[in-house]
């Protein structure tokens, strides 16, 4: 995986399965610890990344894509941390899931919104790409 476009990037690929989400959380903890974040802000990033990966894992399970991967790409800029979580978990077709199953995911989405400064969610190549931005020193 050569990545000459982004020399300050950290990239992680994990299987899209529940037992690997903790690996993503630890890796992003290492990256976020390098920023001028407070202890609470590092925790925010860890939780937000955990939630994004969890959502990917849940959609992969629903769509029969548990053999796919999640890519976590993070870039440290001078004043902010940018994290992309890219899955191949298939479409996030809200209509396809029952009311009850849907809600815990909304709790995850709510948490992400509360924990980072910017979030965008874009369908992409049979999966979803989530971009989160957290500003440092605010």
């Amino acid at each position: 995986m050569p990545n000459n476009e982004c020399p300050a990037c950290v990239e992680l690929r994990i299987p899209c399965k529940p037992e690997y989400v903790g690996v993503a959380r630890l890796a992003i903890l290492g990256v976020a610890s390098r920023m001028k974040f407070s202890y609470d802000e590092v925790e925010d990033v860890r939780l937000a990344v955990g939630e994004a990966c969890t959502t990917s894992v849940e959609w992969a399970e629903r769509n029969g894509k548990s053999g796919s991967s999640i890519i976590l790409r993070s870039e440290i800029a001078s004043d902010k941390l940018i994290v992309d979580i890219i899955d191949e978990s298939g479409p996030r077709n809200e209509g396809a899931v029952s009311e009850t199953e849907q809600e815990p995911e909304n709790l995850g989405a709510l948490l992400i919104t509360l924990l980072v400064d910017e979030v965008s969610v874009v369908p992409k190549n049979g999966g979803t790409s989530v971009r989160m931005v957290k500003y440092a020193g605010q």
């Binding site: 903790g22 939780l47 969890t54 815990p104 995850g108 948490l111 509360l114 924990l115």
Partner: protein, 118 residues
């Protein structure tokens, strides 16, 4: 990862679930099953002790909400012990601290439960 769960009983019939480590998408299903087992055993009250939990995600919140709902359906109750500010923060920012009864110590939690038993 780092996760442990134990169930003990206070006096006759107050089950307490002790959790330790990370309660997340990987480990929360074990908690869900444990809560279901306790409900099926006929218990109407339950304490979940989060004192030693250092990570709790939306999956865990969902399981706890599910447990609370089912307990209330049988006119029972479920309360939490959560002295850790970091974990309590997750309940606070999601507004779930208004839905759950959260105590700092086991004594506080048991006192409330005791009252309801009487």
């Amino acid at each position: 990862m780092n996760f442990k769960m134990d169930v003990r009983t206070f006096e006759k019939d107050l089950p307490i679930i002790d959790l330790e480590g990370e309660v997340d998408v990987y480990t929360a299903p074990q908690l869900k099953q444990q809560i279901i087992n306790i409900l099926e055993s006929g218990a109407k009250e339950l304490v979940v002790d989060l004192t030693k939990v250092d990570y709790l995600d939306s999956t865990a919140l969902g399981v706890l909400i599910g447990g609370l709902k089912r307990m209330r359906e049988v006119d029972g109750n479920m309360v939490l012990i959560c002295p850790s500010p970091r974990i309590r923060r997750v309940f606070e920012i999601t507004g779930l601290d208004k839905i759950f009864d959260i105590y700092n110590t086991e004594d506080d939690a048991r006192e409330v439960m005791g009252k309801e038993i009487e």
